[in-house]
Each structure stands twice: as C-alpha cells, then as structure tokens.
Symmetry: C2
Subunit: 305 residues, 2 copies
C-alpha cells in the first residue's frame, strides 16, 4: 500500500507546555505532505519527524486561534532562509489570516524567493478546497466560538496492479501496461479480447481521514465522514468538565467517542488536550467506555492508515 | 550576595533547529526577571527554567529579525490566558515592533486583562531605557543590517550590611537600622558620633552584564562596557567564515574574544551560533586562543554573575 500516514506534531490546547505542543499535524500521502494547523514551535516538531520541508506545499488552518496558527510566520520565514522556491499554499476560513500575516511577510520575509498563496474558504458549508490525482480535501464546518472548519482527506483509489502472469502469458508489450491499468482491455493476435478485469488485481478503496478540531460535537458532519478510516476528534476535557466544554465550544473525550460511534468510523484518535490533565489516559479511558478503538495522541506519534 | 543570574533560553541563530532555540535569555536580578529577545518557542524554553512568568515585566528586543521576536505573540497570548493583570513592557528600536504586533494583539488578544506597553529607543546612541532601585539598563548601539541595540545591565550597589556587634554594643534600636544602612550616623547617649562606616560592612560594587548581539565587532562600545563582569557576545561563525561574517554583519568567535580583550571584561559568554556547526566547541576553542575565560552557551544553562 502506498503511504497514508498521520504525524502528530502537537496535540495540546490553548498554549504550549512542557508536555504538549499546540495543534499541528502532517498527513504524508504518497510522499506529498499536507499540514493541518500550525501552533508555535511547529517547525521544530516537524524536524523531529525527519520529513522534508520541501515536500510540504499545502497548509490548512482550521481557525485563527493562536494555538493553531502562531507557528506560521516562523515556518514561512525558515522556508525562505532555506532557499525554497516553490509556492506555499495556505487555506483558512475567510480572509483574516491573509490580513494578519501579509504585513508580517512584507516586513520579515520581503526577500524570499518563493510566494505564499492565500486561499480562503467559507466556514459555513462543506466545500472541496483541494484536489489532485491522489486526494481530495473537503472542509468540515465546526461549532466553535470563531469561524472554524475541520478537514476531510479522501484518497483516490490507486490504479489496479497488473497481473504479471497474464502479461507474460499473453506477451503484452510493456508500453501497453499503463493503458491497461487505467482501464483498457487487450486484444491478442487471434483477435480475442481480454478484459481489463482479467488482466489486473483491484486495489483497496481510497482511505479517508477526518480532522475535527476545535468544536462542540457536531452531528451535521456524520453524513460526510461516515465510515472513514480514521477520525481525529478534539477531546479537550474529561466528562466532569462537560459544562466547561459546552461553555468554551469544545468536546469531552466521551462526546468524541459518541460522535465516532454515530459516524461509524474505524478508528478514533483523540487530541487537543487541556493542560489540566497530568495524565491524558483518563481521557482515553472515558472514550473507550463508548468506542473501543481509541488512539491517545502524543507528540511524535505516527499513525498509519 | 543577592541573585544576578543569566538563563540562556536560546543561543542559535537564524532559525530554530533540533540543537538550538533562537535568541532569548532571562536575567534574574534579585528575583525580578528581565527578558532579552524572544525567538519562536521562548515561552516553552522559559518553562524549562522553572522561573515564574509573573515575575517578568520587561522584555528588551534587540532588533526585528524573526529569530529575536517571533516568540512574542505566543508569550503575550499565554500570559493573557494565565490571567495576568500586570502591565508588560516591551522595549525595541523604533516603532516597528508596535506597528507589527498591535494588529495581532487586537485580533488574537483582545480580551486580555493586562496591557502591553510599548517603549521605543533610538538605535543610534546609547541611552538609559530602564531604571529602578536595583538596576539601570542602557542600550548599546550595534552594527547590524537593521536597526539593532544590545543592552547593558548595571546593578546598583546593595545597601551595606549592618555590624550586629556594634548594634548590640551601642544598644541601637532596631528602627534606626535602615536609616544607618542608607548612610546615616549614630549619636550615643553621651553625644559621641559613631560614623556610618564604623557601623556597617560595605557590600561589593554592583555587577555589570552586557548583551551584544547581532553585530559586527563594534569598538565604540568599549568605553561603556569596559571591565564588566560578563559579556555575552554573538559568535555566529568560525574564523574560516570571516568574510561571510562581515558580509552578513555578524562576528566570528575570535572577533568576540578580541572584543572581550579590548573591553577587559571578566568573562565572555558566546552564543548566536550558526546551524552549520555540528559541534560548537570549535567556536569556543577559537575564542579561547585569544581570551581565556570563555563560556560556550547552551540552552537551559544558568550563569551566575
């Protein structure tokens, strides 16, 4: 299977501590990197992964709270100093990110050899904001106290594998293989047609990843992300802080798990932990009471889809 | 002796790496904290020291390159979330810091219960920018490619210690002690005058610390900082990169040491290391060839003056 990995760079909430970095993660999909959120210190967290900065061309920002975007200016500046020339695309709700970052870029990064391209999306409805031959990225409107969206990564199915035994048996030339993988049939020298399905082995369906943070539980998303392979859902609080969660437009670990059950996801990863918990395992325990397959995120963790 | 400690939070240059955080340090002078520079990640570096955020009321920014100020917005925001109410004073050359930070504060930190007060100073001449009963802080104009100043901390001498044997012998009442420490004499019941000098033991002279980064060697500073207890001088490059140092308005380790010799300082601490050195010891070695008392800075180091 080709790579579809999630790297947790930070899974704390509100502010960086000695235990957690603020929100940021990287999706490595077939060696293309996509970043979601970029709290302070993200560039150093990314160095810990060993992933190459040059493979990152797209950053998706869920909302404009500091713990999700204060690391951008440093990351952008570092890319400039390292001689980057490829455009860097930033996606965020509305145009405020551009309004806030542009003056900083003009002052601190004016001699950079690459361009930062701003893309805005509406926080009010789900839309496709990125599409290439491997993946589609859709927004997931969330219920937070500022405009906020999660992101849904849908991998496109890979081309089927060619059946080498059939290629050898039928003496099909190499240059025909890509055509056949893409759906073509083969007609042999006697005029017999061999169907695409006879010549190939199907690949598994595309994998799906949903990032849902920061938000109160939002049932409206269920139709979109239903059955996805991995759901990252914020779990800022434990159940005894349920009132506080509601007040601050966040979720409890149990609520994240209840949402995972409703959306029938395969795996749930929880993060965005409040700094009040000395041991995050309480959050995993509360989630597991409702949904069995819970991953407790931590920095430098890699989750393979 | 009362506290006069220097905490190195970051001593790398240009960008944060796995080895060094960008420039930041804290002076702990009699339990008042003063920060110099604030690169990305400074708030987490400060947490490592165990020093209390609430004791920090003054931050001095040498110049507006990202590796000296990108950590400010996160630090300010965190202080707000932690319920700070005391004013935070920022000192920087000119008014650009305020122009850059104000819109960010208005957007990200609008509900904070404390005020950020901006103070600007001229990068062209040395001036006193802070003064209290323990310390005076002066600027040190530097030779960099943007307006830039170092900082000179001059501790005020502590009041002399009272001679307990004399107090007992002369039966001087407790409430007279502070007056005598502050310079007063004592007249006994027979009218005999006991001089301040007979009643007290002098304390050592105030200690002096100079922060000199980023800059080419700048002999104009020698008169000001001459004989100081500790000089922190940037040593971005080794001697084989002397041309590069000049081109980028930085210093080599050897130049830092030559400056230390000319200024007759007691100790030299070097920092602001380029990321190109796998082992910074080469820089210490080159400096020690010229000046014996060289401290090679690293993160989490505490230097006692």
């Amino acid at each position: 299977m080709e790579k579809f990995e999630l790297h947790i760079l930070g899974c704390g909430s509100a502010l960086p501590t000695l235990k957690h970095a603020p929100s940021s993660q990287i999706i490595n999909l077939r060696d293309k990197l996509f970043m979601i959120d970029c709290g302070e210190g993200t560039q150093v967290q990314m160095r810990h992964t060993g992933l190459h900065f040059s493979r990152l061309n797209h950053i998706f920002i869920s909302h404009l709270h500091g713990d999700h975007c204060f690391g951008l200016i440093g990351l952008i500046s570092t890319f400039g100093m390292m001689g980057r020339t490829a455009q860097l695309h930033l996606y965020s709700p509305g145009t405020m990110l551009e309004q806030i970052l542009k003056p900083q870029l003009e002052f601190f990064c004016k001699d950079m050899a690459y361009e930062v391209v701003f893309h805005s999306f509406s926080p009010n409805h789900s839309e496709t904001i990125y599409d290439d031959r491997s993946v589609t990225v859709k927004t997931l409107p969330l219920k937070h106290n500022v405009p906020c969206c999660g992101f849904f990564f849908e991998e496109k199915p890979q081309l089927p594998h060619i059946r080498k035994d059939m290629i050898d048996f039928l003496k099909i030339p190499i240059f025909e293989i890509n055509r056949i993988k893409a759906g073509g049939d083969w007609t042999d020298t006697e005029g017999k047609i061999w169907k695409h399905e006879q010549l190939t082995i199907p690949t598994p369906p595309g994998r799906k990843y949903a990032y849902v943070s920061d938000t109160m539980p939002n049932e409206k998303l269920i139709d979109i992300i239903s059955g996805c392979d991995l759901l990252y859902h914020e779990a800022t609080f434990a159940e005894n802080e349920k009132a506080r969660a509601k007040e601050t437009n966040h979720s409890t670990a149990r609520q994240a798990a209840e949402f995972a059950v409703m959306a029938q996801v395969k795996k749930l990863a929880i993060g965005h932990f409040s700094a009040r918990y000395d041991d995050d395992k309480i959050l995993q325990k509360e989630a597991k009471d409702v949904f069995p397959n819970v991953i407790l995120c931590h920095e430098k963790m890699k989750i393979v889809l």
